[in-house]
């Protein structure tokens, strides 16, 4: 299936060597700490307030007798390099939210504008309700599909005032809809938890949500709930990579004053 046309001494594409080193190094670190985690090594993790607030948000909905809304933003199809992984991370978090909703009997509405993610969403909800012993409460009607960004936004806006959800989860790959949903959600007094790795939308979710998962936290959210050794191990690996980068930056920064660019060249390899 794969054919190589040219034989050359160099096998790595020019300028991508360091990227490969970083990838391999990260993977090794992730693996080592995942292994240690499974062996029972304790890895402390900073609690993520947004995750801790999920039960609070759902409890609030139960008290008020109103639904809970979840949406991953317009994002992109699962094969989209930047949006796809965010959608998947959001669906993982949705699994937890759904279980909490099933426990408390709160109605959950999911607005999912991504057709390729529909099967995963359905499967996740079904499993969550099953795990709580209430499979009969799950129905595919909980998932609302709307094609394209702006119509999806209008549908969510209409839903907000018609159904008045008590809690909104805006977690995933957001674009311009973030600020509108965040503010419109605020206007109906909803408690809101946001999350995205799309830098251009972070300011708006920070401004309009009560809690917010920023960048990496979106992917790591699972750890603070499940204490899954795999996720914790990866987190430790990520932290060590961050320290390595910080060390490189400190050294490079100091070398910069002497105008020694050896590190710049090495990183560009």
């Amino acid at each position: 299936m794969v054919k190589r046309e040219e034989e050359n001494m160099a096998i790595i594409v020019e300028g991508r060597g360091m990227a490969l080193v970083i990838l391999v190094l990260s993977y090794i670190l992730f693996y080592v700490f995942m292994y240690l985690g499974r062996k029972g090594r304790e890895i402390p993790v900073r609690t993520l307030p947004p995750m801790a607030a999920i039960p609070e948000g759902i409890g609030r909905a139960a008290e008020m007798g109103r639904p809970v809304m979840f949406t991953p933003g317009i994002a992109g199809d699962l094969n989209d390099p930047t949006q796809g992984p965010q959608v998947l991370a959001a669906i993982s978090i949705l699994g937890y939210i759904a279980r909490e909703c099933a426990k408390t009997g709160v109605k959950l509405d999911v607005f999912m504008p991504i057709p390729t993610a529909l099967p995963l969403t359905e499967e996740t909800l079904r499993t969550a309700y099953m795990a709580e012993g209430k499979p009969e409460e799950f129905s595919p009607d909980m998932i609302h599909f709307i094609a394209e960004q702006s119509p999806y936004l209008t549908a969510v806006l209409g839903y907000f005032q018609r159904e008045r959800p008590a809690t909104n989860f805006l977690i995933g790959g957001f674009y311009y809809e973030s600020v509108v949903m965040g503010e419109a959600g605020n206007a109906i007094g909803a408690f809101q938890i946001g999350g995205t790795a799309n830098i251009h939308q972070m300011p708006f979710l920070v401004a309009t949500c009560d809690y917010m998962l920023l960048a990496e936290e979106l992917y790591a959210a699972g750890a603070s709930i499940s204490k899954d050794p795999d996720i914790l191990g990866c987190l430790r690996g990520e932290d060590i990579m961050k320290f390595i980068l910080v060390a490189l930056m400190i050294i490079g920064f100091l070398l910069g004053f002497a105008r020694v660019d050896i590190l710049v060249k090495a990183l560009g390899w």
């Binding site: 094969n79 390099p81 998947l88 099967p119 094609a147 005032q161 300011p203 960048a215 936290e217 961050k242």
Partner: protein, 212 residues
């Protein structure tokens, strides 16, 4: 767009104008029948447009090449239709196969795509000193960006407690992040207001208060 002269154009213009007001009745007043009408109009039309576009994409990317001899394109077409197994409870799991390819492609492209622009290039830009002949201001910016980036990255250390030295660094990091978010927010205001002013202008244009 010039002010239309044909009846269909004039009707279109007024329909567009009314639909705009129906949508804006939501922020300016509250959810109401007019908004609901515009909402459902939009969802219905867009679903039609998207399906037509998706269909022509499939014809262009898959069917035409297949008819020209790339017979293996029948595979992704079958995989695509495997997604519809979701509608048949017994065979729901079949939809996982096409999804596995999408997820794999997304992760593969995503992970390889972040290494250079998000990691190495960001470090390189952080440690590249200002050009020769740079003034004090340039050096100050160099120091600010380097220290700021380092502290902000430290803020995201999740498996160590933020105490001692790390505590100071992360607090500074948090401030730096807030400055970034504030500046980004402020910059977006320009774009959004330009768009909204376009609608305000359209409101007047249709009424012929200002020329089109």
């Amino acid at each position: 767009m010039p002010y239309p002269t044909d009846p269909a154009g004039i009707a279109g213009l007024w329909v567009a104008w009314l639909l705009m007001l129906m949508i804006y009745s939501y922020p300016l007043y509250k959810e109401n029948l007019a908004f609901r009408f515009a909402e459902h109009t939009y969802i219905g039309i867009t679903l039609g447009v998207s399906l037509i576009v998706a269909m022509s994409n499939v014809i262009r990317i898959a069917i035409v090449p297949m008819l020209q001899g790339k017979y293996h394109y029948i595979i992704p077409i079958i995989l695509g239709f495997m997604m519809y197994s979701l509608l048949v409870p017994r065979y729901r799991w079949v939809s996982r196969y096409p999804i596995a390819i999408l997820v794999g492609a997304g992760f593969g492209l995503g992970m390889r795509g972040v290494l250079i622009p998000n990691i190495t290039q960001q470090v390189i830009s952080t440690i590249t000193p200002p050009a020769t002949g740079a003034g004090a201001v340039d050096w100050w910016n160099y120091i600010y960006i380097a220290i700021g980036t380092i502290c902000a990255v430290m803020y995201f250390v999740l498996t160590w407690e933020h105490r001692g030295g790390l505590g100071y660094a992360t607090r500074l990091g948090r401030w730096i992040i807030m400055i970034g978010l504030g500046a980004y927010f402020g910059n977006t205001v320009l774009f959004r207001m330009a768009m909204l002013s376009g609608r305000a202008q359209f409101f007047l244009q249709v009424l012929k208060i200002v020329p089109m």
